[in-house]
Amino acid sequence: MIDRAWEHESVSEPKEIVVGVGAGASAVPGKELATEDMVLNIGPQHPSTHGVLRLRLALDGERIATAEPIIGYMHRGAEKLFEVRDYRQIIVLANRHDWLSAFANELGVVIAVERMLGMEVPVRAVWARTLLAELNRVLNHLMFLGSYPLELGAITPVFYAFRERETIQAVMEEISGGRMHYMFNRVGGLKEDLPLGWLERTGRAVADVRRRLPDIENLIMGNEIFLARTTGVGVLDRETILQYGVSGPIARASGVDLDLRRDEPYLAYGELPVKVVTRSAGDCHARFEVLHDQLKVSLDLADACLERLRQLPPGPINQRLPKILKAPEGHTYAWTESPLGLNGYYLVSRGEKTPWRLKLRSASFNNVQVLREMLPGNLLADMVAILGSMFFVVGDIDK
């Protein structure tokens, strides 16, 4: 042993040795070891895709060389089904493509139909809709504030997020009867008026969520492990965002300052001080931060709506509709700021009781396409962090 150690030290120059083992060995032409890209399918049944999104990755070692999102596993033909449903039945279907923002989805449909009819919505309905849309945004954001850390291995925040969700869902259920699929919008207003004492209970729920929000903040926002996994990971630049039509919190995290609530106000947003949250970093952490700050903004907006609803003079909450509702011939495009991004409905009517075509522009569809640009060059381990930070709902991608 001693002899050999001495021998080893005596070698003056280090010598390069190429070792080939297994199937790769035969392919060694010269010095370098041949590497082959590995094609790896993530999904369609993978927990990190929360749903049935499939990603086909080509891996160069641990790095992602190319990524291709393959969609359509949950295609339910919503647009085609819209064509054989009347406008009340469309609301049922429309609130289901993005099941985390059902109210926002309903809203787009009824706004489009109301615009075609030239219908004036009662003031109380406008404010109640604005309030419910913001509560829906809170619910949606809480979901992702809980599930994103979960995907990165932090199990606790999701319980806190779901406790807050439960608080808001209780008041949503009280007014609409549903916990996810509210089915509460109607053309011309809302289905029913607010139950007695609901405004007060909602005010309390909003205050409770705001009071307990620091729990989630303290749990995750400063966590070193969370920061290490998200800061500087999956940076999305402004140019790519504009090319792919990315919208919502993801776009705002990269400094794209667009929010329809402020830039093209619908409902009562024109009278509300909508604070648009933006970040410039464009990484996973910035996206998470935008979501978190938007939650606070939404709670403030909800409070403003509640205040206004208490002061409004008595009045109806909906319009009397004819038994058969027909949108006049023509077309319109109604887009709204859904919690996950721009949600648009292009309604073409030929004067029938069903639309001739109702094109759906869903936020997640565009937001997920950009993965093709984002993932290459990143480590496979960061894939989960990036995917989770794109805040998508598979039903919203596949429609």
Partner: protein, 189 residues
């Protein structure tokens, strides 16, 4: 910025610790039933006496999960009258394995035969058992809660409004065949 490493983790653990000392919010579900609001969409109840088998609910249902069979029966003429026909409901079934719980049938029913009840405990081992026939749907009718009162500033519910509204005078009744006055009811046909 100079940060002591581990501050973020410690802060998180502090939240957990604080929460550990608080009372838990666990609901002992099977023993303690949740309190559901009256509007909660749990199950659809049928009040059979009110149903005229007009099929409006079945036609309006977005996924056609309501099955109605009926036949016509002739009621013998009362004194000085003529015999009348009426519909007799043979079958009324809702397939809850297809139902999307949208509530359009309840909204569409002009005779108050359908109601929401907040009950939800009717899961089955066999999907075919989710088809509730009219006798089962009628049992839910006992669970239907009264509708909640409306918030201040709301218009009274249409049932109350209709009761207190003055009866239409003979002049305001539209003669058959005349054009409706309100443009809203154009599509009534």
């Amino acid at each position: 910025m100079a940060r002591i490493p581990g501050t973020g983790l410690a802060k998180g653990l502090a939240v957990t610790l604080r929460h550990m000392l608080r009372r838990s919010v666990t609901q002992q579900y099977p023993e303690v039933q949740p309190e559901l609001p009256p509007r909660s969409r749990g199950v659809i109840a049928l009040v059979e006496e009110n149903c005229t088998s007009c099929m409006l609910c079945a036609r309006e249902c977005p996924d056609w999960c309501i099955y109605i069979d009926s036949h016509k029966e002739t009621i013998p003429a009362p004194e000085g009258g003529r015999p009348r026909q009426r519909n007799v409901l043979d079958r009324f079934a809702i397939d809850f394995s297809l139902c999307m719980y949208c509530g359009i049938c309840i909204e569409a029913c002009p005779f108050d035969a359908l109601f929401w009840a907040p009950d939800f405990e009717y899961a089955e081992h066999d999907i075919r058992d989710l088809l509730h026939e009219k006798d089962r749907l009628a049992t839910w009718a006992t669970k239907v809660p009264p509708p909640p009162a409306h918030e201040l500033g709301a218009e009274p519910p249409k049932e109350l409004a209709a009761e207190s509204a003055p009866r239409p005078s003979a002049r305001s009744i539209r003669p058959p065949g005349a054009l409706p006055k309100r443009p809203e009811s154009e599509g009534d046909a």
